[in-house]
């Protein structure tokens, strides 16, 4: 009886050993032997590269008075709002504790604008919430400001955006666009299944180089005189 038991146990243990060997083989196959291929396929699914806007250079008159400059603002978005009502409500309720005045503003099916022009203290207050809810994203926005005189504005010209990059449309902005623009940087980030950024995976590939400040030959006083 014991002999039969031993034989049957041996058969069973041998089968388990073979199964374990097969599992170990599959582990080696995906982790080591074909690693490169599967890593590349995974990266194609989850890794995204993006550009970092270079700060556009200032425009100064011949006396060093700033005529045009850029300012950065930060807006809060709910990207790919979760379909589950419970989670969505939880996000909005917790957000109201940090930013009582924020009201969701629907901008398309997938992205809600929650709050514009966040202050530094609001940015700091949001830090914990952003870690818990990756669907909340702070998106930087750059605005070009010009000394508020019509003649100066006409002389400096306008800017517009092309693929998230600011460029000069006319006036001095267009004339000195290459010098003012600088070189945009590049980053890489991993996205989760809902296409949200995964915390801690952001990597700088190339830093942004700010545009040069351009000193014009004209003085602000001359421009104002011309306006009058």
């Amino acid at each position: 009886m014991m002999k039969t038991f031993k034989f049957r146990l041996l058969v069973l243990v041998t089968l388990l050993l073979l199964w374990g060997g097969l599992a170990a083989g599959a582990l080696l196959y995906y982790s080591v032997i074909r690693r490169g291929q599967y890593l590349e396929m995974g990266n194609r699914l989850a890794l995204r590269q993006g550009t970092i806007q270079a700060t556009r250079g200032r425009i100064l008159d011949c006396n060093g008075v700033v005529l045009a400059w850029s300012e950065k603002y930060y807006d809060l978005f709910l990207v790919n709002p979760p379909s589950g009502d419970i989670r969505r409500e939880a996000v909005i309720q917790k957000l109201r504790l940090v930013l009582p005045e924020s009201e969701p503003e629907v901008a398309g099916d997938a992205i809600w604008l929650l709050k514009t022009d966040l202050s530094p203290s609001q940015l700091m207050a949001l830090e914990v919430l952003l870690r818990s809810y990756p669907e909340l994203q702070i998106v930087p926005r750059e605005e070009r400001l010009v000394v508020d005189y019509p003649e100066v504005r006409r002389f400096i010209g306008r800017v517009a955006y092309r693929r998230d990059l600011m460029y000069g449309v006319d006036g001095a902005e267009k004339e000195y666009d290459v010098e003012l623009s600088g070189t945009p940087g590049e980053y890489e980030v991993m996205l989760d299944r809902r296409r949200n950024w995964i915390a801690g995976t952001w990597k700088l590939l190339a830093p942004a180089i700010s545009g040069e400040d351009m000193k014009l030959n004209v003085a602000l006083a001359d421009l104002l005189e011309k306006q009058q």
């Binding site: 243990v13 599992a23 582990l27 995906y30 801690g200």
Partner: protein, 356 residues
């Protein structure tokens, strides 16, 4: 003396796996808002499990044998009443909710099902009669599990039946007959339930439908690839956290592989192998037949569940929700394994106990 040592080896390995599991759960939930929530609970279950392991090992085996007529019906009642009284989690009605805790009866009933098979199944003649008895007992316990429906756990119950039947000297031909009889049923299921076929196709050719039926298989493969030989380092199971289902439970082996690579995952397979070896040694030192079968069957069943979990995670088995014994998050699973191991250690004690 040798006997005592193997029992100690079993207890030591279970504790080691339990601690490893706590670290793995922390690693798999590090990106959560409360990263200590799951690991804290699991550590509590591990301590409770150790107490139950020692407690169950100290209870004489004759007590289990004499009380099985009560224990088995109570556990079965516990298992079947979850269908009307339990709550639904992840599409399965398999949990009782007790405020902050949930109990999964299909896990807790597992060692008692195995004990029922070992103590009662082998006493009804030989050949077809024994096969029929054991299969009948198995079906009675299996039906509530299938109705939940928890196919992963049902597979483990079925494996328990096959192991005990084989170790108790059951003849081979009724098994072959059963397999042949099941073929038309399987064909009917595949023909009438296209999602089963799609799931199978997704497993065989995941790239044919990468965003649908092949999704989970591919995510497991990408996770293993990210791990490589030495892993992304502890706490960096990013892919497992974001793309795998339940990285602290059903996908814990893949999440460990992503963090520690092959170098950290292979020892787990090795330790489970060592655990089976220790149970086999204990079984061979046990004189009584039914006790011997229980000790060996329990060790093998733990190994089968571990291999099923690992096989799903390394994509040589179609995706199904199943925990890695001791390592995965879940109090019911951990405590059931500890109780089962405690009963096995009790069964492996020498026969020199006083007669009641």
């Amino acid at each position: 003396m040798v006997h005592f040592n193997w029992a100690l080896v079993v207890a030591g390995l279970l504790f080691l796996l339990g601690l490893w599991g706590c670290m793995a759960i922390y690693n798999a939930t590090l990106m959560n808002a409360a990263p200590f929530y799951f690991v804290g609970r699991q550590f509590f279950w591990l301590l409770l499990g150790l107490v139950l392991l020692v407690g169950c090992a100290r209870v004489p085996f004759r007590w289990y044998r004499s009380q099985m007529k009560f224990l088995a019906p109570v556990m079965f009642l516990f298992l079947i009443t979850v269908l009307p009284l339990g709550i639904q989690v992840n599409g399965m009605r398999g949990w009782y909710s007790l405020g902050h805790f949930m109990i999964q009866p299909s896990e807790l009933a597992k060692p008692f099902f195995l004990l029922t098979l070992c103590l009662w199944g082998g006493h009804f003649g030989d050949g077809l009669k024994r096969f029929g008895t054991m299969l009948g007992i198995t079906l009675v316990w299996l039906v509530p599990v299938i109705l939940q429906p928890d196919f992963g756990t049902a597979t483990v119950y079925l494996a328990g039946f096959l192991i005990v039947y084989w170790l108790s000297g059951g003849v081979f031909w009724p098994l072959a007959g059963l397999a042949a009889a099941l073929v038309p049923g399987v064909i009917y299921l595949l023909a009438t339930r296209p999602y089963i076929m799609r799931r199978f196709e997704g497993f065989l050719t995941p790239l044919a439908d990468p965003g649908g039926s092949g999704w989970h298989v591919l995510q497991f493969q990408y996770t293993l690839a990210r791990g490589g030989f030495s892993g992304m380092s502890w706490g960096k199971a990013v892919w497992a956290n974001c793309y795998l289902p339940l990285p602290h439970s059903d996908s814990v082996f893949a999440s460990i592989t992503e963090s520690l690579g092959v170098a950290g995952a292979m020892p787990i397979i090795f330790i489970f192998g060592l655990l089976v070896f220790a149970f086999v040694k204990l079984a061979l030192l046990t004189e009584n037949r039914e006790r011997r079968i229980y000790v060996a069957a329990f060790g093998c069943l733990v190994a089968v569940q571990a291999l099923l979990h690992i096989s799903v995670n390394v994509t040589i088995f179609p995706p199904t929700g199943l925990t890695l014994p001791i390592l995965s998050y879940g109090g019911s699973s951990l405590i059931a394994t500890m109780i089962g191991a405690g009963i096995a250690l009790s069964a492996a004690k020498p026969e020199s106990e006083p007669k009641p």
